[in-house]
Symmetry: C2
Subunit: 461 residues, 2 copies
């Protein structure tokens, strides 16, 4: 559904609400997909959200609730009666419940736990024990397990009996009496074999699995790489504990990318969305980096102070070129670093490619630098010199252009090598990205500029 | 499989190759997952790649080929005999074939088309007709279609008969005699109903579908949002033409994110990976932006030249603070812009939130700016002043700190509002990102700095 269409329905619902026309609202919102009714409810205020939620049919209610934002869920959880809370919880899959529990304040969590039945409570506690960002925290424990000596018919009987409660039934897991994972069977395999064949005859014994304590990013990469629709999760003794499905993977990939992008922009990543974060949270995620980068600019200040007198004697116009040199160096550097960081994240570039990357960037940078230096010369001489009337002699233009050339080449080399180096040292390439590289390139390009100017100008003029 | 493990196997294969121990190689590589044997082959040189590929079993060969890089595929396609080419093509799904065709040079494409049978050739040509980046180019035409008056048993019979050739069988599409899409049925639904029930009784009639000419990003977002495992693709008359599956979506999401990241770093996006791009291609994708941004730095140059004399009279030390002010402004701006751009891309921030975003950034920026201004004062006075012995009087420190405050607030406001504005104007928020914002913020912060210094210093000293 398009954004505009949903805004229209939201406005309509609000209007119907003032008219107390609940019957009409009920028809409207139960017609929506749960993802859309969730967005609609998220846009409601504290007063209206519960009355509208109550108009959802029982099955729509739980599905909508799962899709809502944490803020909206918290509003509802605080206003639900115990019976309403229980009704919603009973319809939810366990991994969704755990997701919500992890985000809610303690008093809300207490109510949720109280309204769950004993078995669910035990499972919730087990999942909550897995380390942060591990596969255990995103897996679902509702999967289909089969025994190796069952026939296809017995398997189908089993699946028919339990299918309704399972998130996915198409991948089934064959376990022994000790719950150890010994093979997998898909419903497709079952359909392609006769009813009285035992699954031991055709089950896949080479199973790709992951441990519950593995990092969820690794698990997501495995599912993506091998085009799986689900990956079995086992404990340290190869006993089956759950599965991670492909739709969870999309969320993990998006989250990991957001983290990378945040780091590249010098922001500490957060799992909350921007609008959900408080002003203080945002402040906390940004201030350390700005402080570090501001203080590291001390170097550039010292360099300028050191050469200031000499430069001024040569030509005061030289100062005006510093921002252009520094900005172009920064842009050239982040082009290289961001490209390499993304390549590393997608596994398209690997540590063994280091020399290949360096050689490629060297050639690219020389081509770029030559082009920029020529245009820079022309810009200074014609635009700033002739058009705006500043006295940019060709000596100055030459000194600036040569510095531009050196700056771009250095920026590219630093920009591509820092992330590669980080990767080799098992550090996070995204953290060393643009801002730090800019600081280094700034200092280097300033020194080069001052040296070239002081070496070249007195000799030429 | 871990990267190190694969490197080990690759080295082993190369060693066995010099010993001509083909039997051992055959065991080794047929034991790998196709994604891993593809990586292994990609690392081989022109001479070795075909002999090793020939050791793959028939089914492994096609699956491995599909997973290889375009460069590796081209090497093989050029060395295949016609029979080998036909064998690989026969085992491939149509959408994979089309993917490869789109990347290969004309002479290779000709050979592929020649070795395909008439029906496949017709289908390939139809898919190639869809516009660039449309759903039609990523869909597969191998899906299961059913008729509404079939019983569950008839459906299962149909599925059993054709399952082997289909990429996915779990989502089935109910069409009428004119191929129009009228409903969907999952294998789960089929399993949950009696053998003699007609599917018209329980099929889902409210089908989410997309048109073949729709943008593939929109389709990916739909599949992600509604947690679908496949989305039916129809033509303008609602006739079924194919399906897009969830594993294609992961690729689209990764590709779109890479495009966004490239744009934010001022690089024209490319569909080829970094290592696949030629030096000239990389140059072409980077040079326009660097030129535009370098030339737009003319403003900062003009501003400095304009105020240069006055600043120098007040204190030459003021120049040394310009890089720090500009860099901090740039960093503060890109923190805000990148966060907002990512929020917009993930649909977490919407145009209606514009005022909310502005208000949040205003409060965050005042907190950040205050903190930075105080530290900046201390740094200049204590570090540069007392420790390094430059004569930073408290007037100068105050002027710089006030400029710092104003710069950070302006940077944040420009940084968050530019992408929001772009979104409202239906432009691409990522294109207006960091480098452009940096240029604007640079110019503004310089003017503020010069004005504050000239207004404040003569009055105080």
């Amino acid at each position: 559904m398009e954004y505009e269409e949903l805004t229209e329905i939201t406005d309509k619902v609000l209007k119907l609400l003032t008219e107390k026309n609940f019957r009409e609202i009920k028809v409207l919102i139960n017609d929506l997909q749960p993802q859309d009714s969730a967005l609609l409810l998220d846009a409601m205020n504290e007063k209206d959200i519960l009355p509208i939620f109550r108009l959802l049919s029982k099955e729509n209610a739980a599905e909508t609730f799962v899709e809502m934002s944490y803020d909206g869920q918290e509003l509802l959880l605080n206003s639900f009666t115990d019976a309403e809370l229980k009704a919603v919880l009973d319809e939810m899959f366990l991994d969704d419940t755990v997701d919500i529990i992890e985000e809610m304040p303690a008093n809300v969590v207490k109510r949720i736990i109280k309204q769950s039945d004993a078995e669910t409570r035990k499972q919730i506690n087990e999942i909550l024990k897995y380390p942060k960002d591990s596969a255990g925290t995103i897996m679902t424990v509702e999967y289909v397990s089969l025994r190796e000596h069952w026939t296809v018919k017995e398997c189908f009987d089993r699946i028919r009996k339990i299918a309704l409660d399972k998130e996915t039934i198409y991948n089934c897991y064959v376990t022994d009496t000790k719950r150890k994972l010994i093979g997998t069977v898909t419903v497709k395999d079952l359909l392609l074999h006769d009813y009285d064949t035992e699954i031991t005859e055709f089950m896949e014994r080479e199973v790709i699995s992951a441990e519950a304590t593995d990092d969820k990013e690794t698990v997501a990469q495995q599912i993506d790489k091998y085009d799986l629709s689900a990956l079995p999760i086992v404990d340290s003794e190869n006993r089956m504990v759950g599965i991670v499905t492909v739709d969870d993977v999309i969320d993990v990939i998006k989250q990991e990318t957001t983290e990378d992008i945040s780091k590249m922009a010098a922001v500490t990543p957060s799992t909350d969305t921007y609008l959900e974060q408080s002003v203080w949270q945002i402040w906390k995620n940004r201030i350390p980096w700005l402080l570090i980068l501001m203080i590291s600019a001390t170097f550039t200040g010292l360099i300028i102070n050191h050469f200031e007198g000499e430069l001024n004697k040569l030509s005061p116009l030289l100062f005006a070129c510093i921002p252009m040199l520094m900005d172009t160096g920064g842009n050239a550097g982040s082009q290289a670093s961001v490209t390499v960081i993304r390549g590393l994240a997608l596994d398209e570039i690997r540590p063994r490619n280091t020399l290949k990357v360096l050689w490629k960037e060297l050639r690219v940078s020389v081509l770029l630098a030559a082009c920029l230096a020529v245009v820079c010369f022309g810009k200074l001489y014609l635009l700033d010199g002739l058009a705006f009337g500043y006295n940019y002699t060709w000596f100055i233009c030459l000194a600036v252009s040569l510095s531009m050339f050196a700056t771009v080449v250095i920026a590219k080399v630093v920009g591509c090598m820092m992330p590669m180096l980080a990767k080799v040292c098992k550090l996070d390439p995204a953290v060393v990205a643009s801002p730090f590289i800019t600081t280094i390139v700034d200092a280097l390009s300033l020194i080069i500029f001052c040296l070239i100017s002081m070496g070249l100008l007195p000799a030429l003029s």
